[in-house]
Subunit: 136 residues, 2 copies
Amino acid sequence: MLVSTRGRYALRVMVDLAQHQSQGPIPMKDVAQRQQISLKYLEKILPVLSKNGYIVGTHGKGGGYQLTRAPEKYRVGDILRLTEGDLAPVACLEAGAAPCQQRDTCPTRSLWCELGRRVNEYLDSVTLADLMKESH
Amino acid sequence: MLVSTRGRYALRVMVDLAQHQSQGPIPMKDVAQRQQISLKYLEKILPVLSKNGYIVGTHGKGGGYQLTRAPEKYRVGDILRLTEGDLAPVACLEAGAAPCQQRDTCPTRSLWCELGRRVNEYLDSVTLADLMKESH
DNA sequence: TTAAAACCTACTGAATTGGTTGGTTATATG
DNA sequence: CATATAACCAACCAATTCAGTAGGTTTTAA
């Protein structure tokens, strides 16, 4: 499993926010109910998105979250890398991984590199706007 | 992380066996030493490969493992699906997963399907023979 | 008979996953 | 000003997976 619930839920929340973009701040309570996800769990996932300027949250009554750009400006890959930490297909290619001993002679290394490249390339080719067209 | 040590090690063992194909049965003790992998851990990973006819093990002194076909006849994807159980990018697409409630309305479902399709397609396009050319 | 190999079963420590509990702080509204 | 509602924050937790270990049994060549 490459993408856990963190990334999957984050993506669904972003699509939900995109779909209700015109209605001002959207409280997470509503999104949680619509998406059938625990509100408390969502509250743990969202901070990384607001800290990086992907969404903005307004406190208090009438508050909620809003996108900061148009849906076409969000790449799925960016959202997933932020919430998942990494999209590397194997541990030895992850950001904080200890440099592999057999790096120079490993016959499978370029396989994993190319796989990772293709995964990121595909996820970067899809935007939130593309996903909005999916729901019916 | 899509592929754990199980799949990664299995692949390296298969490449090692391919490279020593002409030398008759290769004991896992030798492979473990060459690949710097725990012999006991390898012994836990290999049974699924021999049970499915990918390799054949001969007992006793002078025994070991051997490939059952030419390296070009092994697709990397097959080896990984066997040792990892699944190459689904998300839990809701895994073989034994409970059918998702929002399956029909989920705006991200086709994204995951297409991602999984691309991952499998790439890994099925590479063979053991391709990986043999990598090591130097 | 013995050494060496595959093969089998049970256990284990550490990390990750997928949350829950229980708050604090900020703000719009009556 | 009180209150309801929202984001935000920190600690904890059960279950599962990961990456092995430990300790065998069975099979076979020499």
